[in-house]
Symmetry: C2
Subunit: 204 residues, 2 copies
Amino acid sequence: MFKALKRREKLRSDLFLAAERMIADRGLSGLKTRDLAREIGCANGAVYNLVADMDELILRVGSRTLHRLDQALSAAVPRGEAMPQQTLVRVALAYCDFAAENLQLWRALFEHRMEADKIVPDWSVEDQMQLFRHIYQPLATLFPKRSPEELGITARSLFSAVHGMVALGLEQKLVAVPLPALREEIARLVRAMIDGLAAHGGGA
Amino acid sequence: MFKALKRREKLRSDLFLAAERMIADRGLSGLKTRDLAREIGCANGAVYNLVADMDELILRVGSRTLHRLDQALSAAVPRGEAMPQQTLVRVALAYCDFAAENLQLWRALFEHRMEADKIVPDWSVEDQMQLFRHIYQPLATLFPKRSPEELGITARSLFSAVHGMVALGLEQKLVAVPLPALREEIARLVRAMIDGLAAHGGGA
DNA sequence: TGTACATCAGTGAACGCGCGTTCACTGATGTAC
DNA sequence: TGTACATCAGTGAACGCGCGTTCACTGATGTAC
Protein backbone atom coordinates (compact mmCIF):
# COMPACT_ATOMS: atom_id res chain seq x y z
CA MET A 1 0.00 0.00 0.00
CA PHE A 2 2.85 2.30 0.80
CA LYS A 3 4.65 1.15 -2.27
CA ALA A 4 1.57 1.63 -4.42
CA LEU A 5 1.13 5.18 -3.23
CA LYS A 6 4.76 5.96 -3.84
CA ARG A 7 4.58 4.52 -7.31
CA ARG A 8 1.50 6.53 -8.10
CA GLU A 9 3.16 9.71 -6.92
CA LYS A 10 6.25 8.96 -8.92
CA LEU A 11 4.27 8.30 -12.06
CA ARG A 12 2.28 11.45 -11.56
CA SER A 13 5.31 13.67 -11.27
CA ASP A 14 6.90 11.84 -14.19
CA LEU A 15 3.82 12.72 -16.17
CA PHE A 16 4.12 16.41 -15.34
CA LEU A 17 7.79 16.45 -16.21
CA ALA A 18 7.22 14.66 -19.47
CA ALA A 19 4.41 17.04 -20.38
CA GLU A 20 6.60 20.01 -19.55
CA ARG A 21 9.44 18.73 -21.68
CA MET A 22 7.08 17.94 -24.51
CA ILE A 23 5.57 21.42 -24.54
CA ALA A 24 9.01 23.00 -24.30
CA ASP A 25 10.19 20.95 -27.27
CA ARG A 26 7.19 20.93 -29.56
CA GLY A 27 4.77 23.53 -28.30
CA LEU A 28 1.37 23.14 -26.72
CA SER A 29 -0.08 21.57 -29.84
CA GLY A 30 2.66 18.95 -29.77
CA LEU A 31 1.38 17.49 -26.51
CA LYS A 32 -0.19 14.07 -27.15
CA THR A 33 -1.53 11.54 -24.63
CA ARG A 34 -0.02 8.57 -26.44
CA ASP A 35 3.43 10.14 -26.48
CA LEU A 36 3.13 10.97 -22.81
CA ALA A 37 2.16 7.41 -21.95
CA ARG A 38 5.07 6.00 -23.91
CA GLU A 39 7.42 8.51 -22.31
CA ILE A 40 6.52 7.60 -18.73
CA GLY A 41 6.18 3.91 -19.57
CA CYS A 42 2.52 3.07 -19.17
CA ALA A 43 -0.53 2.39 -21.31
CA ASN A 44 -2.22 5.46 -22.70
CA GLY A 45 -5.36 4.77 -20.69
CA ALA A 46 -3.38 4.94 -17.46
CA VAL A 47 -2.83 8.66 -17.90
CA TYR A 48 -6.42 9.14 -16.82
CA ASN A 49 -5.69 7.57 -13.47
CA LEU A 50 -3.19 10.32 -12.79
CA VAL A 51 -5.07 13.28 -14.13
CA ALA A 52 -8.71 14.04 -15.00
CA ASP A 53 -8.01 15.22 -18.53
CA MET A 54 -5.59 17.17 -20.67
CA ASP A 55 -6.82 20.51 -19.40
CA GLU A 56 -5.79 19.64 -15.89
CA LEU A 57 -2.40 18.46 -17.07
CA ILE A 58 -1.81 21.66 -19.00
CA LEU A 59 -2.84 23.79 -16.04
CA ARG A 60 -0.43 21.86 -13.81
CA VAL A 61 2.43 22.51 -16.18
CA GLY A 62 1.31 26.12 -16.39
CA SER A 63 1.40 26.34 -12.64
CA ARG A 64 4.98 25.11 -12.58
CA THR A 65 5.91 27.66 -15.23
CA LEU A 66 4.29 30.47 -13.28
CA HIS A 67 6.19 29.46 -10.16
CA ARG A 68 9.47 29.47 -11.98
CA LEU A 69 8.61 32.83 -13.46
CA ASP A 70 7.83 34.10 -9.98
CA GLN A 71 11.25 33.01 -8.79
CA ALA A 72 12.98 34.53 -11.79
CA LEU A 73 11.29 37.88 -11.16
CA SER A 74 12.20 37.78 -7.48
CA ALA A 75 15.80 36.91 -8.27
CA ALA A 76 16.04 39.84 -10.67
CA VAL A 77 15.69 42.44 -7.94
CA PRO A 78 18.68 42.71 -5.60
CA ARG A 79 17.88 42.58 -1.88
CA GLY A 80 17.36 46.08 -0.55
CA GLU A 81 16.86 47.71 -3.93
CA ALA A 82 15.56 51.08 -2.87
CA MET A 83 14.38 52.56 -6.13
CA PRO A 84 11.04 51.26 -7.29
CA GLN A 85 11.66 52.59 -10.81
CA GLN A 86 14.75 50.40 -11.02
CA THR A 87 12.81 47.48 -9.63
CA LEU A 88 10.14 47.79 -12.30
CA VAL A 89 12.70 47.97 -15.07
CA ARG A 90 14.48 44.91 -13.73
CA VAL A 91 11.24 42.98 -13.40
CA ALA A 92 10.25 43.82 -16.95
CA LEU A 93 13.61 42.72 -18.31
CA ALA A 94 13.49 39.55 -16.26
CA TYR A 95 10.09 38.86 -17.75
CA CYS A 96 11.52 39.31 -21.21
CA ASP A 97 14.45 37.02 -20.46
CA PHE A 98 12.26 34.36 -18.93
CA ALA A 99 10.00 34.38 -21.98
CA ALA A 100 12.98 34.11 -24.30
CA GLU A 101 14.47 31.21 -22.35
CA ASN A 102 11.19 29.37 -21.89
CA LEU A 103 9.58 30.36 -25.13
CA GLN A 104 7.17 27.50 -25.68
CA LEU A 105 6.22 27.07 -22.04
CA TRP A 106 5.60 30.76 -21.75
CA ARG A 107 3.50 30.79 -24.91
CA ALA A 108 1.49 27.86 -23.62
CA LEU A 109 0.36 30.03 -20.71
CA PHE A 110 -1.48 32.31 -23.12
CA GLU A 111 -2.44 29.89 -25.86
CA HIS A 112 -4.33 27.48 -23.69
CA ARG A 113 -8.08 28.03 -23.59
CA MET A 114 -10.53 25.92 -21.66
CA GLU A 115 -13.94 25.14 -23.05
CA ALA A 116 -16.23 27.97 -22.09
CA ASP A 117 -18.29 26.01 -19.56
CA LYS A 118 -15.39 24.51 -17.63
CA ILE A 119 -14.15 26.61 -14.76
CA VAL A 120 -10.51 27.31 -14.07
CA PRO A 121 -9.65 25.88 -10.64
CA ASP A 122 -8.81 28.24 -7.79
CA TRP A 123 -5.20 27.20 -7.40
CA SER A 124 -4.57 28.16 -11.00
CA VAL A 125 -6.11 31.62 -10.67
CA GLU A 126 -4.16 32.08 -7.45
CA ASP A 127 -0.89 31.36 -9.28
CA GLN A 128 -1.59 34.20 -11.67
CA MET A 129 -2.61 36.67 -8.98
CA GLN A 130 0.57 36.05 -7.05
CA LEU A 131 2.69 37.35 -9.87
CA PHE A 132 0.98 40.68 -9.95
CA ARG A 133 2.67 41.74 -6.74
CA HIS A 134 5.97 42.13 -8.58
CA ILE A 135 4.45 45.08 -10.40
CA TYR A 136 1.93 46.22 -7.86
CA GLN A 137 4.24 46.65 -4.90
CA PRO A 138 6.85 48.87 -6.53
CA LEU A 139 4.05 50.96 -7.98
CA ALA A 140 2.48 51.28 -4.56
CA THR A 141 5.72 52.55 -3.03
CA LEU A 142 6.24 54.85 -5.96
CA PHE A 143 2.74 56.36 -5.78
CA PRO A 144 1.62 56.00 -2.17
CA LYS A 145 -1.31 58.38 -2.64
CA ARG A 146 -3.08 56.31 -5.29
CA SER A 147 -5.96 54.00 -4.54
CA PRO A 148 -5.62 50.23 -4.94
CA GLU A 149 -7.99 50.41 -7.93
CA GLU A 150 -5.88 53.00 -9.70
CA LEU A 151 -2.75 51.04 -8.95
CA GLY A 152 -4.39 47.86 -10.20
CA ILE A 153 -5.22 49.46 -13.52
CA THR A 154 -1.76 50.95 -13.85
CA ALA A 155 -0.14 47.64 -13.04
CA ARG A 156 -2.26 45.98 -15.66
CA SER A 157 -1.40 48.59 -18.27
CA LEU A 158 2.27 48.30 -17.56
CA PHE A 159 2.15 44.56 -17.80
CA SER A 160 0.10 44.58 -20.99
CA ALA A 161 2.46 46.95 -22.74
CA VAL A 162 5.57 45.04 -21.74
CA HIS A 163 3.94 41.73 -22.55
CA GLY A 164 2.98 43.03 -25.97
CA MET A 165 6.53 44.03 -26.72
CA VAL A 166 7.90 40.71 -25.58
CA ALA A 167 5.28 38.72 -27.47
CA LEU A 168 5.77 40.47 -30.80
CA GLY A 169 9.47 40.83 -30.25
CA LEU A 170 9.98 37.10 -29.78
CA GLU A 171 7.73 36.26 -32.70
CA GLN A 172 10.50 37.28 -35.09
CA LYS A 173 8.01 37.79 -37.89
CA LEU A 174 8.59 40.55 -40.42
CA VAL A 175 11.11 42.82 -38.73
CA ALA A 176 13.37 40.71 -36.55
CA VAL A 177 14.61 42.66 -33.53
CA PRO A 178 17.64 41.20 -31.80
CA LEU A 179 17.17 40.43 -28.11
CA PRO A 180 19.50 43.14 -26.73
CA ALA A 181 17.67 45.77 -28.77
CA LEU A 182 14.37 44.45 -27.52
CA ARG A 183 15.54 44.64 -23.92
CA GLU A 184 16.66 48.21 -24.43
CA GLU A 185 13.28 49.13 -25.92
CA ILE A 186 11.48 47.54 -23.00
CA ALA A 187 13.57 49.37 -20.44
CA ARG A 188 12.86 52.60 -22.27
CA LEU A 189 9.13 51.86 -22.31
CA VAL A 190 8.95 51.16 -18.60
CA ARG A 191 10.87 54.31 -17.71
CA ALA A 192 8.69 56.39 -20.00
CA MET A 193 5.49 55.02 -18.55
CA ILE A 194 6.61 55.66 -15.01
CA ASP A 195 7.75 59.19 -15.82
CA GLY A 196 4.46 59.81 -17.58
CA LEU A 197 2.56 58.67 -14.54
CA ALA A 198 4.64 60.75 -12.18
CA ALA A 199 4.17 63.86 -14.33
CA HIS A 200 0.49 63.65 -15.12
CA GLY A 201 -1.00 61.80 -12.17
CA GLY A 202 -3.43 58.92 -12.07
CA GLY A 203 -6.71 60.62 -13.02
CA ALA A 204 -7.97 61.59 -16.45
CA MET B 1 -18.88 31.89 -71.14
CA PHE B 2 -19.52 35.38 -69.91
CA LYS B 3 -22.23 34.13 -67.68
CA ALA B 4 -20.06 31.35 -66.32
CA LEU B 5 -17.30 33.80 -65.46
CA LYS B 6 -19.73 36.10 -63.76
CA ARG B 7 -21.19 33.26 -61.80
CA ARG B 8 -17.77 32.12 -60.71
CA GLU B 9 -16.84 35.62 -59.58
CA LYS B 10 -20.09 35.95 -57.71
CA LEU B 11 -19.64 32.66 -55.93
CA ARG B 12 -16.09 33.55 -55.03
CA SER B 13 -17.01 36.82 -53.43
CA ASP B 14 -19.96 35.13 -51.72
CA LEU B 15 -17.46 32.71 -50.28
CA PHE B 16 -15.29 35.47 -48.89
CA LEU B 17 -18.25 37.24 -47.39
CA ALA B 18 -19.59 34.06 -45.84
CA ALA B 19 -16.17 33.26 -44.40
CA GLU B 20 -15.89 36.75 -43.00
CA ARG B 21 -19.29 36.56 -41.36
CA MET B 22 -18.55 33.13 -39.98
CA ILE B 23 -15.28 34.22 -38.39
CA ALA B 24 -16.92 37.35 -37.01
CA ASP B 25 -19.68 35.25 -35.45
CA ARG B 26 -17.88 32.17 -34.25
CA GLY B 27 -14.18 32.90 -34.35
CA LEU B 28 -11.48 31.49 -36.56
CA SER B 29 -11.94 27.99 -35.19
CA GLY B 30 -15.63 28.17 -36.09
CA LEU B 31 -14.85 28.33 -39.79
CA LYS B 32 -15.82 25.04 -41.48
CA THR B 33 -15.79 24.16 -45.18
CA ARG B 34 -19.13 22.35 -45.02
CA ASP B 35 -20.85 25.31 -43.40
CA LEU B 36 -19.36 27.62 -46.00
CA ALA B 37 -20.59 25.44 -48.85
CA ARG B 38 -24.10 25.31 -47.40
CA GLU B 39 -24.05 29.06 -46.83
CA ILE B 40 -23.16 29.94 -50.42
CA GLY B 41 -25.31 27.14 -51.82
CA CYS B 42 -22.92 24.65 -53.36
CA ALA B 43 -21.42 21.26 -52.64
CA ASN B 44 -18.54 21.26 -50.21
CA GLY B 45 -16.14 20.06 -52.88
CA ALA B 46 -16.90 23.13 -54.99
CA VAL B 47 -15.17 25.37 -52.47
CA TYR B 48 -11.89 24.06 -53.85
CA ASN B 49 -12.72 25.42 -57.27
CA LEU B 50 -12.84 28.91 -55.80
CA VAL B 51 -9.87 28.76 -53.50
CA ALA B 52 -6.80 26.55 -53.17
CA ASP B 53 -7.34 25.71 -49.51
CA MET B 54 -8.47 27.12 -46.19
CA ASP B 55 -5.24 29.01 -45.65
CA GLU B 56 -5.82 31.05 -48.76
CA LEU B 57 -9.38 31.78 -47.74
CA ILE B 58 -8.31 32.93 -44.30
CA LEU B 59 -5.61 35.16 -45.76
CA ARG B 60 -8.17 36.70 -48.12
CA VAL B 61 -10.46 37.52 -45.23
CA GLY B 62 -7.46 38.82 -43.34
CA SER B 63 -6.63 41.06 -46.24
CA ARG B 64 -10.11 42.55 -46.19
CA THR B 65 -9.82 43.13 -42.48
CA LEU B 66 -6.47 44.85 -42.87
CA HIS B 67 -7.89 47.13 -45.55
CA ARG B 68 -10.80 48.13 -43.38
CA LEU B 69 -8.40 48.74 -40.53
CA ASP B 70 -6.31 50.89 -42.81
CA GLN B 71 -9.35 52.98 -43.67
CA ALA B 72 -10.37 53.27 -40.04
CA LEU B 73 -6.93 54.54 -39.08
CA SER B 74 -6.91 57.05 -41.93
CA ALA B 75 -10.35 58.28 -40.99
CA ALA B 76 -9.28 58.82 -37.40
CA VAL B 77 -6.86 61.59 -38.27
CA PRO B 78 -8.49 64.86 -39.37
CA ARG B 79 -7.18 66.32 -42.63
CA GLY B 80 -4.40 68.75 -41.88
CA GLU B 81 -3.71 67.55 -38.37
CA ALA B 82 -0.45 69.32 -37.67
CA MET B 83 0.67 67.67 -34.47
CA PRO B 84 2.20 64.23 -34.95
CA GLN B 85 1.80 63.45 -31.25
CA GLN B 86 -1.92 63.93 -31.61
CA THR B 87 -1.94 61.83 -34.74
CA LEU B 88 -0.26 58.95 -32.98
CA VAL B 89 -2.69 59.09 -30.09
CA ARG B 90 -5.62 59.12 -32.48
CA VAL B 91 -4.25 56.23 -34.48
CA ALA B 92 -3.71 54.17 -31.35
CA LEU B 93 -7.25 54.84 -30.14
CA ALA B 94 -8.66 54.05 -33.55
CA TYR B 95 -6.78 50.77 -33.45
CA CYS B 96 -8.32 50.01 -30.09
CA ASP B 97 -11.80 50.87 -31.34
CA PHE B 98 -11.41 48.83 -34.48
CA ALA B 99 -10.31 45.82 -32.48
CA ALA B 100 -13.24 46.20 -30.11
CA GLU B 101 -15.74 46.48 -32.96
CA ASN B 102 -14.22 43.68 -35.05
CA LEU B 103 -13.07 41.53 -32.21
CA GLN B 104 -13.08 38.10 -33.82
CA LEU B 105 -11.82 39.25 -37.20
CA TRP B 106 -9.06 41.18 -35.56
CA ARG B 107 -8.11 38.19 -33.41
CA ALA B 108 -8.06 35.99 -36.49
CA LEU B 109 -5.25 38.14 -37.89
CA PHE B 110 -2.98 37.05 -35.09
CA GLU B 111 -4.29 33.57 -34.38
CA HIS B 112 -3.83 32.20 -37.85
CA ARG B 113 -0.60 30.31 -38.40
CA MET B 114 0.39 28.66 -41.64
CA GLU B 115 2.26 25.39 -41.66
CA ALA B 116 5.94 26.16 -41.36
CA ASP B 117 6.85 25.17 -44.91
CA LYS B 118 4.11 27.11 -46.70
CA ILE B 119 5.05 30.64 -47.60
CA VAL B 120 2.82 33.64 -47.05
CA PRO B 121 2.00 35.20 -50.44
CA ASP B 122 3.39 38.63 -51.25
CA TRP B 123 0.07 40.42 -51.39
CA SER B 124 -0.59 39.38 -47.81
CA VAL B 125 2.75 40.63 -46.53
CA GLU B 126 2.22 43.85 -48.46
CA ASP B 127 -1.11 44.41 -46.70
CA GLN B 128 0.64 44.33 -43.37
CA MET B 129 3.47 46.61 -44.41
CA GLN B 130 1.08 49.24 -45.67
CA LEU B 131 -0.37 49.72 -42.21
CA PHE B 132 2.94 50.57 -40.69
CA ARG B 133 2.97 53.96 -42.36
CA HIS B 134 0.28 55.18 -39.93
CA ILE B 135 2.87 54.96 -37.18
CA TYR B 136 6.02 55.48 -39.15
CA GLN B 137 5.12 58.76 -40.83
CA PRO B 138 4.12 60.74 -37.75
CA LEU B 139 7.23 59.44 -36.02
CA ALA B 140 9.36 60.55 -38.96
CA THR B 141 7.96 64.09 -38.83
CA LEU B 142 8.35 64.11 -35.08
CA PHE B 143 11.97 62.98 -35.14
CA PRO B 144 13.37 64.06 -38.49
CA LYS B 145 16.96 63.39 -37.42
CA ARG B 146 16.50 59.68 -36.78
CA SER B 147 17.45 57.00 -39.25
CA PRO B 148 14.84 54.82 -40.91
CA GLU B 149 16.15 51.86 -38.90
CA GLU B 150 15.73 53.66 -35.60
CA LEU B 151 12.30 54.85 -36.62
CA GLY B 152 11.36 51.33 -37.67
CA ILE B 153 12.28 49.94 -34.29
CA THR B 154 10.48 52.72 -32.49
CA ALA B 155 7.39 52.21 -34.61
CA ARG B 156 7.46 48.56 -33.85
CA SER B 157 7.83 49.16 -30.12
CA LEU B 158 4.99 51.60 -30.09
CA PHE B 159 2.77 49.24 -31.96
CA SER B 160 3.68 46.25 -29.79
CA ALA B 161 2.95 48.10 -26.59
CA VAL B 162 -0.39 49.43 -27.78
CA HIS B 163 -1.31 46.09 -29.27
CA GLY B 164 -0.52 44.39 -25.98
CA MET B 165 -2.79 46.71 -24.08
CA VAL B 166 -5.62 46.23 -26.54
CA ALA B 167 -5.21 42.46 -26.64
CA LEU B 168 -5.21 41.96 -22.90
CA GLY B 169 -7.74 44.70 -22.34
CA LEU B 170 -10.28 43.10 -24.66
CA GLU B 171 -9.66 39.66 -23.24
CA GLN B 172 -11.69 40.61 -20.16
CA LYS B 173 -10.03 37.88 -18.15
CA LEU B 174 -9.38 38.43 -14.46
CA VAL B 175 -9.58 42.19 -14.06
CA ALA B 176 -12.12 43.56 -16.51
CA VAL B 177 -11.26 47.06 -17.62
CA PRO B 178 -14.12 49.04 -19.16
CA LEU B 179 -13.43 50.30 -22.68
CA PRO B 180 -13.28 54.04 -21.84
CA ALA B 181 -10.71 53.33 -19.14
CA LEU B 182 -8.72 51.24 -21.57
CA ARG B 183 -8.75 54.04 -24.13
CA GLU B 184 -7.54 56.49 -21.53
CA GLU B 185 -4.71 54.19 -20.54
CA ILE B 186 -3.67 53.75 -24.14
CA ALA B 187 -3.61 57.48 -24.79
CA ARG B 188 -1.50 57.91 -21.68
CA LEU B 189 0.88 55.21 -22.83
CA VAL B 190 1.39 56.73 -26.27
CA ARG B 191 2.03 60.19 -24.86
CA ALA B 192 4.46 58.81 -22.31
CA MET B 193 6.39 56.88 -24.92
CA ILE B 194 6.66 59.88 -27.20
CA ASP B 195 7.75 62.14 -24.37
CA GLY B 196 10.28 59.56 -23.31
CA LEU B 197 11.67 59.40 -26.81
CA ALA B 198 11.83 63.16 -27.15
CA ALA B 199 13.62 63.49 -23.82
CA HIS B 200 16.17 60.70 -24.06
CA GLY B 201 16.82 60.30 -27.74
CA GLY B 202 16.91 57.19 -29.85
CA GLY B 203 20.30 55.71 -28.95
CA ALA B 204 21.16 53.56 -25.94
C1' DT C 1 1.34 -19.38 7.57
C1' DG C 2 -2.16 -20.30 4.21
C1' DT C 3 -6.37 -19.64 1.61
C1' DA C 4 -10.21 -17.02 -0.38
C1' DC C 5 -11.61 -12.77 -1.63
C1' DA C 6 -11.67 -7.65 -2.76
C1' DT C 7 -9.67 -3.76 -4.66
C1' DC C 8 -7.94 -1.01 -8.03
C1' DA C 9 -3.97 0.38 -10.89
C1' DG C 10 -2.78 -0.86 -15.38
C1' DT C 11 -3.83 -2.48 -20.29
C1' DG C 12 -4.51 -1.43 -25.10
C1' DA C 13 -8.01 -1.99 -28.41
C1' DA C 14 -11.78 0.44 -29.86
C1' DC C 15 -14.98 4.34 -29.86
C1' DG C 16 -16.30 8.64 -31.62
C1' DC C 17 -15.94 12.86 -33.51
C1' DG C 18 -14.29 16.44 -36.29
C1' DC C 19 -12.98 17.96 -40.49
C1' DG C 20 -9.93 19.24 -44.59
C1' DT C 21 -9.39 17.33 -48.90
C1' DT C 22 -9.93 14.22 -52.89
C1' DC C 23 -12.11 11.98 -56.71
C1' DA C 24 -14.95 9.45 -59.95
C1' DC C 25 -18.87 10.92 -61.84
C1' DT C 26 -22.89 14.25 -63.88
C1' DG C 27 -24.72 17.54 -66.47
C1' DA C 28 -24.92 22.04 -68.14
C1' DT C 29 -22.64 25.18 -71.33
C1' DG C 30 -20.13 26.26 -75.25
C1' DT C 31 -17.75 25.01 -79.77
C1' DA C 32 -17.07 22.88 -84.44
C1' DC C 33 -18.88 21.74 -88.58
C1' DT D 1 -30.62 25.43 -87.37
C1' DG D 2 -29.14 20.96 -85.85
C1' DT D 3 -26.00 17.33 -84.29
C1' DA D 4 -21.78 15.47 -82.14
C1' DC D 5 -18.33 16.42 -79.17
C1' DA D 6 -15.33 18.74 -75.55
C1' DT D 7 -14.85 21.19 -71.46
C1' DC D 8 -15.14 22.00 -66.87
C1' DA D 9 -17.91 23.69 -62.92
C1' DG D 10 -20.45 21.24 -59.67
C1' DT D 11 -21.62 16.98 -56.80
C1' DG D 12 -21.43 14.54 -52.46
C1' DA D 13 -19.74 10.30 -50.84
C1' DA D 14 -15.67 8.64 -49.15
C1' DC D 15 -10.83 8.98 -47.69
C1' DG D 16 -7.60 9.70 -44.21
C1' DC D 17 -5.74 11.34 -40.30
C1' DG D 18 -5.45 12.88 -35.73
C1' DC D 19 -6.43 12.23 -31.24
C1' DG D 20 -8.90 12.57 -26.57
C1' DT D 21 -11.35 9.43 -24.03
C1' DT D 22 -13.65 5.09 -22.61
C1' DC D 23 -14.12 0.39 -21.18
C1' DA D 24 -14.15 -4.55 -20.50
C1' DC D 25 -10.66 -7.10 -18.90
C1' DT D 26 -6.02 -8.68 -16.22
C1' DG D 27 -3.22 -9.24 -12.67
C1' DA D 28 -0.72 -7.61 -8.87
C1' DT D 29 -1.29 -6.11 -4.11
C1' DG D 30 -3.45 -6.06 0.18
C1' DT D 31 -7.03 -7.71 3.65
C1' DA D 32 -9.87 -11.01 6.43
C1' DC D 33 -10.12 -14.98 8.86
